[in-house]
Amino acid sequence: MKARKTSTSSSRTSGQTRKTAKTAARPRTRARKVRATRAAAAETPETPPPAETAASPSPKPKRAARTKKTAATETQSAAPASVEPAPASPKKRSASTRATSKRTSPATPPTPEPPAPASAEPAPEPKRPRVRRTAAAATTSASGEAPAPKPSTRKPRAPRVPKLPPILFEPDEPAPPPVSGPGEKFALGPTPPESRAELSEPELPEAYGTKRLSLTPCDPHRLYAWWDLTTEQQARFNRASADGHLVLRIFSGAASGSPALEIHLHPESRFWFVRVEEANAPYTAELGYYRRAAGGARRWTRVAVSATAHTPPETISTEAALEFVTLPAEVPLPEIRALAGRPGREARPITALAGELRRSGHPLFQPAAPPGPTPWTPERQRALEELVVQTAGRPTAPGSIEIGERVRPGAERGAPVVGPAVEQPGPLPASPAGALWNVSSPAGGEAPLARGFWLNVNAELIVYGATEPGASVSVGGQPVKLRPDGTFSCRFALPDGQYELPIVATSPDRAETRAALLRFSRATTARGEVGAQPGDPNLKPPTPRNA
């Protein structure tokens, strides 16, 4: 993973955390191997292989194609990543991609991209996605831009590329999950269970062919766009495209005028994570392609347009208008509409109707006098704003899923943290330093040594025997339940020490008794650090008196 970061300028690419169905099931050792190999190739900027389709019947990109594409991007320099490429399927994923962004002048209408070097039929090799950041959103530096390819009528020579081992293109495991305590309700052990082969999976359709484009905000600066095209539909558009692939345009506001972003997609991508500049702003996506027109021009063809999505705000609003309403808790909300003479699904908000009721003098909707000790004053306002601002910003309070790095076992743990730094009302009374990173413990063993090799040894004692069914047996003075055939067994932890264990059996008619006294000794010597659990030196032998 780090190898990728060496050549990436800013935002994380999807390959850094992406994991898909198939890869999730792989043993961790393999993932580590992949990472190790990647580390060795740290100087090679990586580019994803084309995304693969979800359903098996569709043709899958071949390894050779992946290698070629990687080579093509090796010639690119690092560029600000403003998009995060997405895989095409839940089962496979493409590796990370760095997008190229390009600025244009604010006054410049969207100029057609130079024609792609390859002809549209057959579709050219998958290209690295390009992002053209137009003036509307391009306010950041675009240093490291890759030059746009020059128009050419010649079919380009296949680039000569070093052959990279296919394992380099295998997916990574995702970053350690930020799970917290309650998130651990899904924990099945210190590590996830092994993949269960019996969970054979049904297959979903790869797509439904509605040609819909959907846009969803993930956070103030990230949008998730997906489009519903079957493999055949997508291949048809790709063939019609002068670039051999579809293009995603992101507009500030409605889908008109110059797009803020233009993203050249992988030919088989079905969704994309897009970074955008503005929080609390509307964005619309448009999916389409450039087709070659007469005279070498390129003409935009729309495939789908999304509904407008609004990114969430990330700051406190400057709008400070104050409107208070009274909504009596005992009056159901639909009844408020009826009271206001506007039953049913009337468009006016309930609070507006409550305001009308207040103005009309309805007793239930009159505001109560502030119950505070003194009236509202500018001093109070300032004092309160100071307190409110202290709670602002993210992350202010870890959510239900945020402190995972502090509770995950073993090597995934982060750096040690200090104990309680209590702000108020005083230090915790006699509380030892609690470090959440220590909450976890590797499965069943002590902390491994520096090289990771370790040994834990312990011993148990199993005493077993048989007597007449119906007899009574005690071991160490405690009665033992016999099995129907008269057999019994007992298990004891056996720390270092010397022990005696009396066993007594009494016949069913209580007339006869048999007894045995077993003596045991355990002494452990260790070479190197060996986990051991020596017994309490003060422990007395388990005679009936001591039991």
Binding site: A25, V179, E194, D219, S317, P398
Partner: protein, 524 residues
């Protein structure tokens, strides 16, 4: 009283029920939560009732959890599980005879487990009825959440789907608790304005958002998170208080990391001989948690030290006292600055208390008792109590947000799980198509229609993308999403052709047996 404190526990687990297997690994999520959280919480409530402790608590019980807690198959399996645990504790008492520290712990577990069995039997294994009893007695306010805990803002603002998630939950709440819910737990505190018309339709009066969801409201709320606002649709919105959250969660101030507390991961299911623990493992072929854990967090990287129950309870008492003092100081400071009594809202996942933080129920117990007897700065109330006391509030529209990582939706929408949503959107639209097409279908088609609705709801659970992201059981989560969607698509095709495979339908009904009275008209 200068202010109020509202403690909200959100209890939820996804619907996991596999009659086709004798023992199923993921069913242990429920069994562990019952043993470590839900039954201990009931014991704490019983103690408050017995000792006349005043103060009200809010408990969110998800419809999927209620379904499982009232399901005879799972109730029977839990009894078997609890019986096995007690048997294991008995064996441990004998086995640890020469390991005195563990021996005492084995006795502790045996004592606790038999006590839990008594509580279980006292309620005849029906924990929903048990919690209802405390609500009816005025000690709890129970609220509901989306039917299958779907992350509502990611449902594409598809109105029929949002309506179905909310009204299905409302309907089943009525059946379980004999009244309408007043509050609604937004799954993962994820808010988007599109859900409000349906909350209003369900006569929901309040919900909670994370602090920034309220602080970033439009216009800015004068009182921050220390008083609710009304949305234009008339719903009261409370904001999660960061400070009280931080004291439980923070790496610097969080209580559960105290070295005296029990270690969550170190379990005899991993420590002891496999053949010995095998009969008590959640899955007989894999090591897993038994619930018997003998070590405390300890600290450092050396060997773990044995858990000492008395020291851990002392820590819980100290932390409860500290938490109380912090709330008193916080409310006193706020009261000086506000012209109305502030309310501090502190929501937590219920499973934090007991399952992960083993001493959590004792912390709650000590805190509430101290709040009831040792101070008179604030009252422990529920948000609905507050609204009944104070009906005048500022009008503002909260900001889209969640309490997840970074405060938005990335936990549930990222590279590991984004593939789910196109399928969900297709399914929910097809469900609406079916609901509009079949208004009064014959019985077999009606059954198929209802089952199709159940499958859509089950596929929408936020737990599956969450688990795919966290990797705790990704194979299972992926399989569940696909199973429900494929079953839905099969039903969709059968309904379209009006040729329902009755035998297969019965199998599916028995397997995904949830929401028996589901109302398909909500999708129309």
């Amino acid at each position: 009283m200068q202010g109020y404190f509202a403690l909200i526990l959100h209890a939820h687990l996804p619907f996991v029920r596999h009659p086709e297997h004798e023992k199923f690994l993921e069913e242990s999520w429920l069994f562990e939560a019952v043993t470590e959280t839900y039954l201990p919480l009931l014991q704490v409530l019983e103690g408050w009732a017995r000792d006349g402790v005043t103060g009200r608590l809010t408990l969110s019980l998800s419809p999927t959890l209620c379904t499982m807690l009232t399901d005879p198959l799972l109730q029977g399996r839990y009894e078997r599980h609890l019986r096995g645990l007690i048997e294991l504790a008995e064996k441990e008492i004998r086995r640890t005879h020469w390991e005195r520290a563990f021996h005492e712990l084995a006795w502790m577990y045996h004592h606790r487990l038999t006590g839990l069995r008594d509580t279980w039997r006292a309620y005849d294994g029906n924990l929903v009825a048990a919690f209802r009893k405390f609500q009816d007695a005025g000690r709890l306010e129970i609220i509901t959440t989306a039917a299958t805990h779907a992350l509502l803002p990611l449902l594409g603002h598809h109105a029929p789907t949002l309506r179905a998630q909310i009204l299905t939950a409302r309907d089943h709440y009525r059946a379980w608790f004999g009244r309408d819910p007043r509050g609604f737990w937004l799954p993962e505190c994820a808010y988007a304005a599109a859900i409000e018309p349906f909350l209003q339709e369900a006569n929901i009066r309040w919900f909670v958002v994370d602090a920034h969801g309220l602080l970033h409201a439009e216009p800015r709320p004068r009182y921050g998170v220390f008083a609710p606002v009304f949305t234009p649709d008339g719903l009261a919105v409370f904001g999660r208080d960061p400070e009280s959250s931080r004291q439980v969660w923070s790496r610097h101030e969080g209580y559960p990391g105290d070295l005296r507390y029990r270690d969550f991961y170190r379990d005899i299911g991993f420590d002891l001989d496999f053949d010995y623990v095998r009969p008590y493992l959640p899955s007989p072929d894999h090591r897993g948690f038994t619930g018997l854990k003998y070590y405390r967090i300890t600290g450092g990287t050396g060997a773990k030290e044995p858990y000492q129950r008395a020291a851990a309870l002392q820590a819980a008492a100290e932390h409860a006292g500290h938490f109380l003092n912090a709330r008193v100081a916080q409310i006193q400071k706020l009261a000086r600055a506000m012209d109305r009594p502030p309310i501090i809202v502190a929501p937590y996942d219920a499973e934090l208390f007991g399952h992960w933080w083993y001493e959590g129920p004792e912390f709650l117990d000590y805190f509430v008792r101290k709040a009831a007897f040792d101070q008179n700065t604030f009252a422990l109330i529920t948000p609905d109590d507050y609204l009944r006391e104070h009906a005048t509030h500022q009008v503002a529209r909260p900001a889209p947000s969640s309490w997840g990582e970074e405060g938005y939706y990335r936990v549930w929408l990222n590279e590991t799980n984004a593939w789910i949503y196109p399928h969900l959107h297709a399914a929910q639209e097809r469900m609406t198509e079916l609901a509009r097409k079949f208004v009064d279908p014959p019985p077999l088609l009606e059954r198929a229609l209802k089952q199709a609705a159940r499958e859509v709801l089950l596929a929408q659970a936020s737990d599956w993308p969450f688990i795919l992201r966290t990797g705790t059981s990704p194979d299972y989560a992926r399989r569940r999403v696909k199973d429900h969607l494929v079953r839905f698509l099969t039903l969709y095709e059968q309904l379209r052709k009006r040729r329902v495979d009755a035998r297969w339908l019965r199998e599916v009904e028995q397997r995904d047996a949830i929401f028996p009275d589901i109302n398909v008209a909500y999708w129309a």
